[in-house]
Amino acid sequence: MKQSALLLTDSDFVPVGAALSAIRGFQDLGEDDLLVITRALQLTGQLPFEPASLSVIVFASKSLELPGEQWFEDVIRVLKPGGTIVIQTFLPVADHGDKPSSALERKLLFAGFLEVHLIDMKSVLQPEDTTLLLTMKAKKASWVVGSSFSLKKRVLPKIQIEDELDLIDEDSLLTEEDLKKPELPPVGDCEVGSTRKACKNCTCGRAEEEQKVQKLALTSELLDNPKSACGSCGLGDAFRCGTCPYRGLPPFQLGEKVSLSGSFLAADI
């Protein structure tokens, strides 16, 4: 189809003059530019147009019901970026104190249209009673919108995608179970205990303190004159008990003053 403008109606017939003047309100029409489709809602499948090929679509509806989500998506598909949609319809029954036009406004917004607003336009189908008639206009985004970016996708421009392969939806691979919020892992019964065992001849007091699990204080006394009958304290963290007062310090020699390296927080002393 080479046309750039489309008049859709669910009515069986539409007066040509009204159709032409409706479209001309939005763009100039050459001889071959306009296509009219009547009984539009009975079309099976998609509108017979290439994607992004139409500049204007006017839909004149005689029913009180609005078309479904798929119809709006199809309209977006065939409209050029920056293209215009105009829907003239009778006011659907308002509920919840909504403005009568709200339902249509919402549908347009959700399909991704911009600048949705009411306009004045002569009625196309020329019904007898025009009190409930309204006309709404909206635009398709004028910048090119790429494939939908959902939260889960990262954009990696470096990866060359050769052809657009037909892919399954990866989220469909997850079950209810998979989607449940994970619980923090329990302490497994097959776990070996993580508490450090006291040295064989521990003098730091761990052997006595097993039940209380207290870290012993590191005093300046201990720093000046380090003591360790078990001999392990000076060997470094790999060999110290969990409550060793020297834990966190580098290895040292017994009998020499322990130097606190710059990377140790001496808040306790």
Binding site: F110, F149, I159, I161, L173, R196, D237, A238, R247
Partner: protein, 628 residues
């Protein structure tokens, strides 16, 4: 089909930071110890997915990244597997098993492994065992689940195919355990050989780039950055936060030595940090080697698996240079296998015992406490076990590779041609044993003196934030250093506006702790929020800041967004793109929830419909860059 079946155990890993690779290496080693005649361990991006059906047994080890995604190295492979036209019998002759590495603090826990496992099943694969899920939140990290899963895997494989796995248990008696063979060989060159080639100095830029590339190629795998795209010079180093605050954030400006910088806003700058020369020196001395001797390092060629990418004619380099550029000696922590190998080279009995204990399942938790939680460095470990003398080729294999660090670029090339800016927080933290640790790259950058010092190897690539066209309205959310890329966005749009382009409004939400202390780039945002600026409220945009600690109750960016719900809704329904950036991994989810709530309220929808509209149905995408 006529495809020759390869009788081997294939281990494929999808690794982001090297953890999955280490786990995969362990699978390979354990298979060999149980008599497997043929094992290969490869990254998924080194394997052609089309050849999967001809494999007998494939073990997958895959990490899930923060947003529930596959690792980058796995994206193409995964895309291939997702094709609709793959039959449900495609892998009918392939036995497989999946182990995932993830973090249960995230909603999308181990999504990569879960999806992969199900997909493999759906296309005909025969699972050997149930998928294993490793969890960072576990007391001993992923190894908690890994040990058990591996045992069940070996039992199942031994039953299914005893030719491929003759023994299901390893000989657990430590005294009879054999040392494996190292992966690398190191050739030491005599002085005479070196006279002809001469030494490369860093004065010639191309030479320098080639040198760095060659050195890093010697021991690093395919996925690491090798030859630098740029050698950058730091020209400005400015503190953004008052020095009495407990954080240090720097504004850094760089030039390229060859004036060839090409980038877009939203791109990422990847930098190779320099290590402390004293630490490098101490490490080399501890290894009993001469820093000035010349070496060549290359993978050991074992039978059929020839790494053809190793350049056999690479000129030798100084040992010191190799260590500086390729081996992380004073920052990253080694893995369990390091301790296992060390035990073979310990001459003191108590050290040998301790190392064997650390490498055993019983010692796993204690190792995790001592090593991973304390961020014990290679140098520190070697100093704690003074009787261990590791041959250098083992050190090359086991020391963590020196990794590049990535930062969001905070400038626009329109506003600063030939320059690239970064906003970097110098990270410090305290370990459970009260040791102070600091991030290698951020602290090194904070200390670089402008226009002095060696050129900095760097790469630029796209990140998660696509550069927006000027006519697209924007909602930007960037608390803390998350504001970095958006400084670039604002600079760019202001420059485009000045050139006469029609620009759409920007609505920016910033957050920090205290208005007086850490309000990064305050003057910059304020100036662009004046009338006529790209952040001006009058044009439909705006600039709003949340100061979390300036009052008794916490105020974050999402609260400010809710306050400005009308403004947000107007832009969202106008097709604005949403960009979220920051260093908190949970913040993006909180922000998106706030957006959904705004949509639900303003449009009169339930939260599910609001979410659907926000993500898929409206014009304008959502882009998230979250770093940890």
């Amino acid at each position: 089909m006529g495809l020759e079946r390869s009788r081997r155990l294939l281990v494929l890993y999808g690794s982001q930071t090297g953890t999955a690779q280490d786990a995969a290496d362990r699978v390979g080693r354990e298979a060999v110890r149980r008599g497997c005649p043929s094992v290969d361990v490869l990254s998924v991006d080194e394997f052609d997915a089309r050849l999967l059906p001809s494999e007998d047994v494939v073990i997958f080890v895959v990490s899930t990244t923060g947003q529930g995604d596959m690792p980058d190295s796995m994206k193409e492979f995964w895309k291939f597997l997702l094709q609709k036209n793959i039959s449900d019998q495609w892998l009918e002759h392939v036995h497989y098993a999946v182990f995932g590495l993830g973090d249960s603090a995230y909603q999308k826990y181990n999504f990569a492994a879960k999806k992969l496992d199900r997909r493999l099943l759906n296309i005909g694969g025969k699972p050997l065992v149930q998928k294993g899920l490793g969890d960072d939140q576990h007391r001993s990290g992923y190894e908690g689940a890994f040990d058990l899963w591996l045992s069940s895997l070996w039992n199942a494989l031994h039953e299914k195919d005893p030719m491929l796995l003759p023994r299901s248990i390893d000989n657990l008696d430590a005294s009879t355990q054999c040392l494996d063979s190292p992966k690398f060989e190191v050739i030491f060159h005599s002085i005479n050989e070196m006279v002809a080639t001469g030494t490369s100095t860093l004065s010639d830029l191309n030479c320098a780039k080639n040198l760095i590339g060659k050195v890093r190629s010697m021991s690093l795998g395919k996925s690491h950055y090798k030859r630098p795209q740029y050698l950058l010079q730091l020209i400005t180093n400015q503190q953004l936060i008052k020095s009495d605050a407990d954080a240090d954030v720097r504004h850094l400006e760089f030039e390229s030595s060859s004036s060839d910088l090409r980038y877009q806003v939203g791109d990422v700058l990847e930098v190779l940090p320099a290590q402390d020369p004293d630490a490098v020196e101490a490490f080399i001395r501890r290894a009993n080697l001469d820093p000035d001797c010349y070496i060549t390092v290359r993978p050991k060629v074992i039978g059929k698996h020839h790494d053809s990418s190793a350049d056999m004619s690479t000129p030798p380099v100084k040992l010191r240079t190799f260590v500086e550029l390729a081996m992380d000696v004073a920052s990253a922590s080694p893995r369990r296998y390091f301790f296992e190998v060390m035990s073979f080279f310990a001459s003191a009995e108590h050290e040998k015992e301790k190392l064997q204990y650390f490498a055993s399942p019983e010692g796993r938790d204690d190792l995790f406490q001592y090593n991973q939680k304390e961020r014990r460095t290679v140098l520190e470990v070697l100093e704690d076990f003074p009787s261990v003398q590791l041959p250098f080729e083992w050190l090359v294999q086991l020391a963590p590779p020196l990794r590049t660090r990535a930062f969001s670029i905070s400038s626009s090339p329109l506003a600063h041609p030939d320059q690239v800016h970064l906003t970097v927080k110098a990270l410090t933290w305290t370990t459970p044993f009260k040791r102070k640790r600091s991030g290698l790259c951020s602290n090194w950058l904070a200390g670089v003196v402008p226009r002095k010092g060696v050129p900095i190897p760097a790469w630029i690539h796209g990140g998660c934030l696509a550069a927006p066209p000027p006519s697209e309205p924007l909602i930007l959310v960037g608390p803390g250093t998350g504001c970095a890329p958006f400084r670039g966005f604002v600079e760019e749009r202001a420059a485009q506006k000045a050139e006469g382009a029609a620009v759409a409004p920007i609505l920016f939400f910033f957050g920090c702790r205290n208005q007086e202390k850490d309000f990064l780039y305050r003057d910059f945002w304020v100036s662009h929020a004046q009338d006529g600026g790209v952040l001006a409220a009058g044009s439909g945009g705006g600039f709003f800041a949340a100061f979390s600690r300036d009052q008794v109750h916490k105020v974050y960016v999402q609260h400010k967004m809710k306050e400005e719900r009308k403004r947000v809704w107007r832009l969202l329904s106008g097709g604005a793109a949403v960009y979220i950036a920051g260093s908190s991994a949970k913040m993006p989810a909180d922000v998106v929830t706030a957006l959904e709530e705004i949509v639900a309220e303003e449009a009169g929808l339930d939260s599910e419909a609001a979410g659907r509209w926000l993500r898929r149905q409206r014009a304008g995408g959502i882009f998230i860059e979250a770093w940890s």
